[in-house]
């Protein structure tokens, strides 16, 4: 009952805010979700013609979208929005949709992120797969598609309106040129956060090359400060250093070759990355006990907060996270710079603007079991209610940049601005290895990262381990 009252309240508040948005013309979230200028005017005309009428009009009016069913329908939706700010943002999108299409009921289930992938596997194997669910693209999404639990929506996408997603976002939601996922998260780059105050006190400049970076590290170490705050217990955090060093040394070439095993995870760039990391570990550039520190408890942030570390290579979500911990301290002390260039490789013509990260955060996959009407309804929900102006504004308010063209202009936080600029100017976005690689190889890759930072294996050994896993995976296919 409480939920119902809440949703009615939310719906009414939101419809009011939609109206306000129409009347105001250009609201803060300028790139309208898939709406051309023409649709904006129709909406405005409708609003000015009869405000009372307009509140019953759909926000999708005038757009090129499939005609949705008028019969009763239930859509079971699984997401991982258990916490703020994701939960209210996503619940509001669903509420707006249900208000416009009262015959369609969306049952929105929030799953715990930790168990989500396992829950989904269990649901799929027992015939309880939700109609619409969150995924991260990459290897697992390919598994869902191959097993018949993810619809190919290329035709829908090419026929009907949708937000002007950046190319990398659509690429990440695709498998073998078939579009499977509609992005609704935000792009996440990966850059080095640093303590401006510590840098100033020690007379350090932001490094632009690896040599300069190592110079900065050496000086910090002399001053008794550990250069990098890294919590490598979950292993994907250490992987960021590895991925970047590989990318700076060889662009995407060597990784792509290793992926198909025409090359190898033991090739030059991988060895370069491993040697660098182990050299840095030996010089004490990472905190002691790096493999048992966990970012889930914010142990890496803490090392940055208490001044024992000066830099942290991390996903851009850290900006929002640190800002919500203490906005004032964050504004005063934290700056960000892109991962320095490898000047030797640059001289050889290796591109230095490959970005590590994800272009979508999350996307929705659809499992309509051949029910075209349902698929169309879900398409409209995902493209027009998630990803609409209200949704995107709420995303921006919580330091998230939607994967839609034009949004890079609107970032206000100076650090997020740097991050977004780096992202939009990247020649290529390399998705995190641990999401891009097939699941069985991911496991080996992650263990390799513990071994690397724990100095238990060297570059050649982890290269061989990863090659073996990749070969086994390719043989399976």
């Amino acid at each position: 009952m409480k939920k119902k009252v809440l949703s009615i309240f939310l719906a009414s508040v939101l419809s009011a805010s939609i109206l306000a948005g129409c009347a105001g013309g250009g609201s803060a979230a300028a790139p309208a979700a898939g709406g051309s200028d023409a649709t904006e005017t129709t909406k405005e005309e409708a609003a000015s013609a009869d405000t009372a009428e307009a509140s019953t009009g759909k926000q999708t009016d005038g757009k090129n979208l499939p005609e949705l069913t008028t019969e009763d329908m239930t859509i079971l939706l699984w997401d991982i929005a258990t916490e703020e700010p994701g939960r209210p943002t996503q619940e509001a999108a669903v509420a707006r949709f249900m208000k416009d299409y009262p015959n369609i009921h969306v049952e929105q289930i929030h799953q715990q992120n930790d168990n989500y992938k396992q829950q989904l596997v269990v649901a799929m194997s027992s015939g309880q797969c939700p109609d619409m669910y969150v995924s991260w693209g990459g290897g697992p999404m390919a598994e869902y598609y191959k097993s018949g639990f993810a619809d190919d929506i290329t035709d829908l996408y090419n026929t009907y309106d949708h937000p002007d997603f950046i190319d990398a976002a659509i690429a990440q939601g695709s498998y073998k040129d078939k579009i499977l996922g509609i992005p609704f998260g935000s792009l996440s780059g990966c850059d080095i956060f640093y303590n401006k105050t510590i840098f100033k006190e020690n007379g350090l400049e932001v490094p632009t090359t690896l040599d300069e970076l190592e110079d900065v590290c050496a000086k910090l170490k002399e001053a008794g400060i550990t250069p990098f705050a890294l919590a490598n217990a979950p292993k994907w955090t250490g992987s960021m250093y590895y991925m970047y060093l590989v990318a700076r040394h060889s662009g995407n070439d060597e990784f792509d070759a290793a992926y198909t095993q025409e090359g190898s995870f033991g090739s030059e760039a991988f060895l370069f990355a491993s040697d660098k990391i182990q050299d840095w570990v030996k010089k004490g550039y990472f905190p002691d006990g790096v493999n048992s520190l966990s970012p889930d408890d914010g142990q890496d942030k803490q090392l940055l907060y208490d001044g024992s570390c000066a830099m942290m290579l991390h996903g851009s979500w850290m900006a929002g996270s640190m800002s919500s911990d203490n906005a004032e301290w964050y504004q005063e002390n934290i700056g960000v710079f892109r991962f320095p260039e490898d000047s030797e490789a640059k001289a050889k013509g290796v591109p230095q603007d490959v970005e590590i990260g994800t272009a979508i955060g999350n996307c929705f996959n659809f499992n309509s079991k051949g029910d075209q009407a349902k698929l169309e309804a879900m398409y409209v929900l995902a493209t027009q209610y998630y990803n609409d102006d209200t949704y995107n504004q709420m995303q921006m308010d919580s330091f998230q940049t939607p994967s839609i063209k034009g949004f890079e202009e609107q970032v206000t936080d100076p650090n997020m601005k740097v991050i977004t600029d780096v992202f939009f100017n990247a020649s290529n976005v390399q998705l995190w290895y641990d999401q891009y690689l097939p699941a069985s190889v991911t496991e080996v890759h992650k263990n390799s990262m513990s071994a690397l930072f724990g100095l238990e294996k060297d570059g050649a050994e982890i290269g061989a381990d990863q090659d073996a896993a990749m070969k086994a995976e390719l043989a399976e296919e």
């Binding site: 799929m124 869902y144 191959k146 097993s147 002691d288 048992s292 069985s440 513990s450 724990g454």
Partner: protein, 305 residues
Amino acid sequence: MAEKKKNNSSLEKVRGKRVAVAATVFLFPALFLIAVYFIYPVIDTFVISGYKWNGISSDRTFIGLQNWVTLIHDKNFWDAFGHNVVIMVFSILLQIPIGMLLATFLDAGGRKYNIFKVIWFLPYLMSSVAIAFLFTYALATNGGIFSSLASLIQGKKVTIDLLGRSPHALFAVIGVMAWQYTPFYMVYFIAGYGNIDTTIYEAAIIDGATRGQYVRHIAIPLLGPIFKTACTMSLIGSLKYFDLIWNMTQGGPVNSTELMATYMYKLSFQQFNMGYGSAVAAGMFILITFIALLFQKIFVVKEDY
């Protein structure tokens, strides 16, 4: 007379029938649940282990014993089994003797030590997940109890990394498991002491035995069967252990705390390899059954009192 006898026998029949009906009715729910949640899954695990299946697809390919061949040659699995055996040995060596000592202390002290009984039992009342979190913080290199204490003693910042290195991680986890399960065996032995007739104790004291002699020569031999059951329970528990390890280390660093159960979980639910994961689970089932039976066979305690 004859009529009466006939009456009697029909009464017996009716009664017998009623007992049978009642037994069926009362046993059915339990049997049904055992069948659905125990027997069926065990059988199905063996069936699935014959397939190549990612766990979600509707089509699965029968590959016969191929998963089993892989299992026999799988170094990761046998490493994990090795860790299970290490944990098993240390669990039996730590938990049971310490539990026994605590129980002896409490038995000797009588009522006035009840407060210890309560405090010592507390760890067992906590869920494994909570304990895992507690000790992850306590053992943390940054601000954990051990690191902080060491820093305090040495007067400079010292980090003691127990969970991030091999083989330290495995022994750290064994320590935490001992902390968690010792209270269980303590209570078990307290119950054992309670079962020893007080007249035996009195007779021993009258005959001039000291408390130590009583414990060594009378109580411990009488507790024999308890030891045996406790060991069997600890053995099975260690071999199928999962929750604490999963929440503390997820089998890391670099598989150094990987157990059969965590390995099975990773294969089945994270790597889309349900067929092989089931083979691991079935392998676990066989190994645990075999070891437990072997243990029973070797350590038969004659129940001769």
